[in-house]
């Protein structure tokens, strides 16, 4: 595929050097303002009637239709809660125009305040990375990008495996949706990160709250949504190149996107993406850590087709990654682990290298997706059908002695998933607005190497309805869903096949009330019930887990977990002050966890502690929030915090791997004295991060006490540059400026090495 990408790029450069001439080289350049506040209006839908082209305005309210021929055109500008506007142009030359949208006084208060498309579950807290935040964090994996959001933490295995956590839960207690499709990898493992390329995303957001009603089982604590960008609306070919260079592990992460639409097939648009990431051993303040490199190559191709009210999207994406697992973190038995800890991390020390040796993980994920949406007078109907194939291979530090098996993985899982979703969103009838849908999943999982997760087939069906009702300043919302799951594991003992079937049925529900106090204030309350069925590993694990030197035993009689989460959020938004504060309480019945058996077992390779999958009731509560202040011109202050607590109710003890309290404050100065026709959005910023020690752990429950609290200092400077059609965004970031030595409680490899020291990152985003 790399070959093809290079080929595309060569052609693109040829075009850039040969500007087109003729009568079809005009453009309509517009800028949309919110009329009452006179501020730039983002995400407004602009429709060019004659060519059936849709675009949305950018952060600055700008939109552009390029390569237009002479003639008459009509543009329709619309935004929920605002009066639609229709403007006629007679194009003789390119036009620049300012457009003011006036609010529709009878409209929903939620829309005028939020300034966003209405969320599917209005009473839940949605939070997205802004374009600026995405640009500032490019080159990192999804988990690391998401962790800047309040309420989101990550569970790391080393520096390259990051599992996102929402309100203290990760893996199968949150759901991930990539390009509208439920991501199905092997989420159950603590060292399995989501196989999603953030470079592919047009929008990355997180829902905090029990959202099973809309997103199916597993969405107990929340949902991660990675959505694709809309199709290119204007004619021609565009290119986008994002590159990031990291000094600490000498990583280069680059992504190229090409997209186009042509007049001869004006209803068809295409887009291709290629991503490359390669990094070597990372560096703590005093040494390099062995075998911590990664290599990732991703590819995606998309076709978009619009015909009247029908929209079709075909997507193929592929994710390939090879991740080194830290040297010295794989060991024989529990005595080895104690010995390594007592040495203080000397075994992981190494020189710099890009080479990835055993132990390592190699993960392949691909998806083929068809999305069809049809807009009628009654509402819109969306159908998404997708197949996913996930192939995860783990190679242990210990190479097999047998020559035949030498290069084969010790653990391999292959998971095939076929999902179908049909959702109908009806238009407002009286004061009701909502959606109904059905979702089905078929899965087949097989294994190779050592048996850890058995062969299984999984059939799921769900049906849901969500309705909203507006009454003055109040908005009521309720939703109900029924899910049915047939899960059948199969074992082969000497060609005797044994089937173990399970049936799970469950109801999920939400009740929400939003109160729109005035145009600035909104108070949201949501109570949700969500569930998840036990995973194959929780039911059937039987034996040694090498990564932790423990013997883990599943329990085939586990029941499904069900949770009740209440989340309340207060949002306030003016130009100078913006804040959003959440508080949540979450009770989970039959919470599944690994309980130490307080005994060790003697195997031929030594003594191993035993753990059993057990159920209890758990209680999580906490608060998170972000505050933005612009007290003085050109100065901006941002503060964020996440506080999560979790208890095992039955034993009245603490749960493990709950993120410690953390907060960060950013001070930003706009460098507007640099601004000119070509330079905009220049800024310099400093961020202070604080992570407390995790004090809420059971005494003597771990091989090492939780690491101490730490503080880090980061700084960043950046700006946008623009000339003709070229747009360039350059930023330079310094992380851990003071080269602080620290370890993180949320890193599963904290026993073996320190976290990275100082890192300088140069990011260049170019588009045409």
């Amino acid at each position: 595929m790399k070959k093809i990408l290079v080929h595309f790029f060569a052609i693109q450069i040829a075009f850039a050097q040969n500007p087109k001439g003729g009568d079809c080289d005009f453009s309509i350049n517009g800028k949309v303002f919110e009329a009452e506040k006179n501020i730039e209006f983002e995400a407004v839908a602009v429709f060019l009637k004659e060519l059936n082209l849709h675009v949305n305005t950018d952060e600055k309210g700008n939109f552009i239709f390029r390569n237009l021929c002479k003639g008459d055109y009509t543009i329709e500008v619309s935004y929920l809660g605002y009066k639609n506007l229709s403007i006629n142009y007679r194009l003789q030359k390119s036009i620049d125009d300012k457009i003011f949208l006036h609010s529709d006084t009878c409209s929903l208060p939620s829309v005028t305040i939020k300034g966003e498309k209405e969320n599917e579950i209005a009473s839940l807290c949605y939070i997205s990375l802004t374009t600026k935040e995405i640009n500032q964090n490019n080159g990192q994996n999804l988990g690391e990008m998401l962790r800047i959001l309040p309420g989101v933490d990550v569970l790391n295995t080393g520096t390259n495996i990051s599992k996102p956590m929402i309100h203290g839960m990760s893996g199968n207690r949150i759901a991930s949706y990539s390009m509208g499709v439920r991501q199905e990898g092997q989420q159950w493992g603590a060292e399995h990160a989501p196989e999603i390329d953030p470079f592919l995303a047009g929008k990355i957001s997180v829902i905090k709250g029990a959202a099973s009603v809309r997103y199916g089982s597993d969405a107990m604590a929340g949902v991660i949504l990675v959505d694709g960008a809309e199709a290119r609306s204007n004619f021609g070919v565009g290119a986008k190149l994002n590159s990031a260079f990291f000094t600490n592990n000498r990583m280069n992460a680059s992504a190229l996107q090409l997209e186009g639409r042509h007049k001869i097939l004006k209803n068809l648009a295409w887009r291709v993406n290629g991503t490359f990431r390669k990094g070597g051993n990372y560096q703590t303040p005093s040494y390099y850590v062995g075998n911590t490199g990664l290599e990732e190559n991703n590819f995606a191709a998309q076709l978009f087709y619009e015909y009247k009210k029908l929209k079709l999207e075909l997507l193929y994406s592929q994710f390939n990654t090879t991740i080194g697992v830290m040297k010295g973190s794989h060991f024989g038995n529990i005595d080895d682990l104690r010995q390594i800890i007592s040495e203080g991390g000397t075994r992981s020390q190494s020189d710099f290298s890009y080479e990835i040796a055993r132990p390592y993980q190699k993960v392949f994920h691909e998806m083929l997706r068809l999305k069809a949406s049809w807009t009628t007078d009654l509402g819109s109907l969306t159908f998404i059908s997708a197949t996913q194939y996930n192939d995860r291979a783990e190679l242990d530090a210990h190479k097999p002695i047998n020559q035949e098996w030498r290069n084969k993985p010790q653990l391999q899982y292959k998971l095939f998933t076929f999902t179908n979703d049909l959702v109908f969103e009806h238009k407002k009838i009286n004061k009701f607005h909502g959606s109904i849908g059905i979702a089905t999943i078929y899965q087949l999982n097989n294994w190779d190497g050592r048996l850890l997760i058995p062969f299984y087939q999984n059939y799921n069906g769900g049906i849901f309805a969500i309705e909203k009702y507006h009454l003055g300043k109040l908005e009521f919302e309720t939703g109900l869903r029924y899910d049915f799951k047939y899960f059948e594991a199969q074992f082969n003992n000497n060609q005797i096949f044994e089937k173990k079937p399970y049936i799970f049925q469950n109801l999920s529900a939400i009740v929400g009330v939003n109160y729109y106090l005035n145009e600035h204030f909104v108070l949201k309350n949501n109570f949700g019930r969500a569930w998840r069925a036990p995973n194959a590993n929780e039911l059937f694990s039987n034996g040694l887990h090498h990564g932790t030197a423990s013997l883990e035993y599943g329990n085939p009689n586990l029941k499904a977990e069900s949770g009740y989460k209440f989340i309340s959020s207060l949002e306030y938004k003016t130009e100078k002050v913006k804040f959003e504060i959440n508080a949540f309480a979450h009770r989970i019945e039959n919470y599944i966890y690994l309980k130490p058996a307080n005994s060790t077992r003697q195997l031929i390779n030594g003594a191993f502690p035993e753990f059993n999958y057990t159920q209890t009731h758990a209680f999580f509560y906490g608060t998170d929030g972000n505050v933005m202040l612009k007290p003085i011109k050109n100065w901006e202050f941002n503060a964020r915090y996440t506080f999560v607590n979790a208890y095992d109710i039955k034993s009245n003890g603490y749960l493990v791997y709950i993120p410690p309290y953390n907060a960060n404050i950013e001070v930003l100065r706009n460098l507007n004295f640099w601004e000119s026709k070509n330079i905009s959005n220049a800024y310099i910023s400093m961020r202070w991060l604080w992570v407390n020690e995790q004090t809420r752990v059971e005494a003597n429950s771990d091989y090492m006490p939780p690491p101490a609290a730490y503080q880090l200092l980061n700084a960043q400077i950046g700006s946008d540059f623009k000339w003709n059609k070229h747009q360039l965004n350059i930023s330079f970031q310094a992380r851990n400026i003071l080269n602080t030595t620290y370890r993180s409680y949320m890193n599963r490899l904290r026993y073996f090495a320190d976290e990275p020291g100082r890192d300088f990152i140069l990011r260049v985003n170019y588009s045409i």
Binding site: K20, L258, K414
Partner: protein
């Protein structure tokens, strides 16, 4: 210029479709589970130590540590090592994978520079302990201690104790040492021992 552009659009759309079609071939996924007994990985299930009295070559015997189901729930069977006091034995160790039915000793020998055996008697230097030691280990290609073959010496005192056998493994990027604390543990077993 326009024709190139037209062509380019066609090429792009065509390639995209082709890429999708070609990539989405049938994936290699079996629809039946494989046998859960056989794993493509060694599991040492049996360790045998063969001993011969250097003073009397006809006196040879073995002790066996056998954990037939590997990491499974079944308990191992362990022989007692019965030694004569004031004796020197020639000894060698044999490792067997009963799950895949494969002898591992030869392979360990081939990869001598990744392995090292350590033998310890406890308690020693006490009146009722097992006062014995091992020596004369065979070497790997780099002339470092391997320990598949060794000599076992018992003192004139008699007593009870245990004999611990450790096999240390050094993976990719690790340097072999003869320090029993280094490397990761492949075997760590103890035989009850008596010296009469």
């Amino acid at each position: 210029m326009m024709t190139i552009k037209k062509q380019f659009s066609k090429i792009m759309i065509g390639t995209t479709l082709l890429a999708i079609a070609s990539q989405f071939a049938c994936r290699p996924i079996e629809t039946k589970p494989k046998d859960s007994g056989a794993g493509e990985e060694e599991v040492i299930t049996k360790v045998t130590i063969h001993l011969t009295n250097t003073a009397d070559v006809n006196e040879h015997f073995k002790v066996v540590y056998n954990d037939a189901d590997g990491n499974g729930a079944q308990l191992p069977t362990i022989d007692t090592l019965k030694l004569k006091n004031g004796t020197i034995y020639d000894a060698y160790i044999d490792l067997f994978d009963g799950i895949n039915n494969e002898n591992l000793t030869e392979e360990i020998k081939k990869e001598g520079d990744e392995h090292c055996f350590h033998y310890t008697f406890t308690p020693t230097n006490s009146l009722s302990g097992v006062n014995a030691l091992t020596s004369d280990y065979d070497k790997d290609e780099k002339n470092m201690k391997l320990g598949l073959k060794f000599k076992l010496h018992t003192a004139t005192t008699t007593g009870l104790g245990s004999f611990n056998v450790k096999l240390k493994h050094f993976g990719e990027g690790e340097t072999k040492t003869e320090n029993p604390q280094d490397g990761s543990t492949d075997v760590d077993i103890s035989f009850p021992t008596q010296i009469k």
